[in-house]
């Protein structure tokens, strides 16, 4: 059995009285492509935000390669409002910041593209190299780390070649066509040397041809960079094509999990997506 990379245990995320994510358990193993699907508003992006440390969960535990990166239980007035289970199981409060989690090897893209709008394609990817820089503030500010800076630039250019954006390296990032912006976001995430990549609706707004290219692209980078991939996607063709396993969320709850074939024939999933037929 391959090694467990990401492990979610009874994760609940509650905003006031609204339970966005309800008692979700999830496992992602080394080298897998796992998809997280569900109707709009099911809480998929919230799960991503909990995993990457943008939100700290109301209750539950998240671990990355065996290390707990987030764990919490309801505090203060949330104790009364809390509407999910496992309330007293998690006693610690652990809350890693997003940058720390990124440094541990988990990178992500965003549903609504968040590129650095004033920067070029090249600089967008180069920024992600900053966190691994060895030179201190003064060495960097006084440009004494020439060799390191040159290495960072070289690696960035190589990465741009891999993702096929080297031709537009000097363009302002937000002036690129939509499909290329998505690709650039993935390149920027790869630039942090992740072992795990989280893609939030990578195919949103793409035409069928672009989507097909994307699925080949995801496979290619997965093999090349030895990645584990967790993705949110609405495009079922893409999901069924590339994922090894699928988790289905509905109203914050995990209603099904399994291989694409299993999910396609799961009655609960069909109900969630198509609604109940009245007989």
């Amino acid at each position: 059995m391959s090694q467990n990379v990401l492990h979610l245990e009874n994760v609940t995320m509650q905003f006031g009285g609204v339970v966005a994510v309800n008692d979700v358990c999830m496992d992602v193993n080394d080298g897998e492509i796992v998809a997280l699907i569900g109707p709009n508003g099911a809480g998929k992006t919230t799960v991503f935000n909990v995993i990457t440390g943008v939100y700290s969960p109301t209750n539950g535990r998240v671990s990355l390669r065996g290390k707990v990166i987030a764990e919490d239980h309801p505090h203060g007035k949330m104790k009364k409002l809390y509407a999910a289970g496992h309330q007293f199981e998690y006693v610690h409060t652990i809350d890693y910041s997003p940058d720390r989690i990124t440094k541990m090897g988990m990178a992500r893209t965003f549903q609504n593209i968040r590129l650095f709008s004033s920067m070029t394609v090249f600089e967008n990817v180069l920024v992600a190299k900053h966190m691994n820089m060895k030179a201190g503030f003064f060495a960097s500010a006084l440009h004494l780390n020439g060799r390191e800076e040159a290495r960072m630039r070289e690696e960035t250019m190589e990465l741009l070649k891999v993702v096929g954006l080297d031709g537009v390296w000097d363009e302002i990032a937000t002036s690129l066509p939509y499909g290329q912006q998505r690709r650039l976001e993935i390149a920027r995430a790869l630039s942090t040397h992740p072992s795990m990549l989280l893609l939030d609706e990578p195919a949103a707004g793409m035409n069928p041809q672009e989507t097909e290219n994307l699925s080949a692209f995801i496979r290619e980078i997965k093999d090349r960079f030895h990645l584990t991939v967790l993705l949110i996607e609405h495009d079922m063709e893409l999901v069924m094509d590339i994922s090894d396993r699928i988790y289905v969320l509905n109203f914050g709850k995990c209603i099904a999990t399994g291989t694409p074939v299993e999910i396609q024939s799961n009655p609960d999933v069909i109900t969630a997506y198509l609604g109940v037929t009245e007989e």
Partner: protein, 378 residues
């Protein structure tokens, strides 16, 4: 390997435009030096140049924070005050302390530091205060941060006038008799000036500081600052530690505001806390906005224009004048400020992005539309 990768891979080399820009800057310095030897030192020009250099440094330091890191801070006057006081307190000659601190029995500090050490110390103290107030305040965003830093500037001004601290700060009395820009002039035995340096020195101090800021902006840290400005969430997801980088930007900006404060002290020959009001911060903010938020060159140009307008070119509007027996209407004391406000409104209305936008000096010598990578100081 295509040409794109060849130009991108090596460190940014000095291209033609940057070389021209550096040449222009050297020419300006040379011109300042020559003018100072030729024109009598009482000319208004030198007042403008000295104060302009001081304001340019402070404006660039504010631009580093507001324009490049996206932190809207209004504490500049407070940090300048700390810098000005630090400089003054440590450089008043021991022999003069009795007369300066006449109500405080000569004060407690009975030693004098060299001028350059005191200037550096002015920056260090300002940065230290920035670090302390940054710990709580930098958690705030946009307007809230602006209000908190504004409050700090007001509080620090009150504290420095506090009677109990008078043994150090001289209370609400003037600090004076410390070395000023004029003391850099080289004199012969009889006291006649042989070489005027009182304008070149502030230019050099400001130039070195601005050069450091420009190099910082073009370094990896500068890119991280811009990333934070463009999108905090994405920057954090790219592994940029927000609290740390915001603190670095805040302390660096304050350091140079402190140095600017020391320069202001040297410019006006005396220091008094009540001079460092909020309106001073607004003047600096105005300079930054007029010059272009995110342009170092813009801040420098507009600070000289601003100082020249407010101190020199518009002065005639304050005096009643008669031409051939005809009394020119409206000209009276205070009219200058009206015209000044109108000019500022016109600039803000018609040059939304300021004089330079986000362009830098070398971009002016480039044909292609630049991408905002300025390479030289101004």
């Amino acid at each position: 390997m295509n040409t794109a990768s060849l130009t991108a891979k090596p460190r940014k080399k000095l291209d033609r435009a940057t070389v021209i820009a550096i040449g222009v800057i050297f020419a300006i310095y040379a011109l300042a030096f020559v003018l100072e030897q030729v024109i009598p030192s009482t000319s208004m020009l030198f007042t403008v140049l000295k104060k302009g250099a001081t304001y340019a440094l402070v404006a660039v330091s504010m631009n580093l924070l507001n324009g490049f890191t996206g932190l809207f801070s209004l504490g500049q006057a407070g940090f300048m005050l700390i810098g000005a006081y630090t400089y003054a307190v440590f450089t008043i000659p021991v022999a003069q302390r009795m007369s300066v601190y006449q109500y405080y029995n000569g004060g407690v500090i009975q030693f004098t530091l060299p001028v350059l050490v005191a200037i550096a110390l002015a920056g260090v103290f300002a940065a230290l205060f920035a670090f302390l107030i940054g710990l709580p305040v930098l958690r705030l965003k946009s307007d809230y941060l602006a209000i908190a830093t504004l409050g700090f500037a007001e509080i620090i001004r009150a504290i420095f006038q506090w009677d109990k601290l008078g043994v150090v700060t001289n209370g609400s009395n003037l600090l004076r008799l410390f070395p000023t820009f004029n003391d850099f002039n080289i004199k012969d035995a009889s006291g006649n000036v042989t070489l005027h340096l009182s304008t070149l020195i502030p230019f050099l101090i400001a130039g070195v500081c601005i050069l450091f800021i420009v190099m910082l902006i073009n370094s990896s840290y500068g890119r991280a600052f811009k990333a934070i400005r463009d999108d905090e969430t994405a920057a954090e997801a790219m592994g940029i530690n927000l609290p740390r980088h915001k603190m670095i930007a805040f302390c660096t900006s304050s350091f140079f505001a402190g140095v600017g404060g020391a320069m202001l002290a040297m410019y006006q020959n005396s220091v008094q806390a009540k001079y460092f009001t909020t309106s001073m911060t607004y003047e600096i903010l105005l300079i930054v906005v007029i010059g272009g938020i995110g342009s170092v060159t813009g801040s420098c140009i507009s600070s000289f224009l601003f100082v020249a307008c407010s101190e020199w070119w518009l002065r005639f509007l304050d005096q009643e004048q008669t031409i051939n027996g005809w009394q020119v209407p409206l000209l009276r004391n205070g009219f200058r400020l009206v015209v000044f406000s109108l000019i500022i409104m016109a600039v803000v209305l018609f040059f939304r992005k300021g004089i330079m936008g986000t362009r830098e000096l070398p971009d002016l010598f480039r044909r292609r539309k630049p991408s905002g990578k300025g390479g030289a100081k101004a």
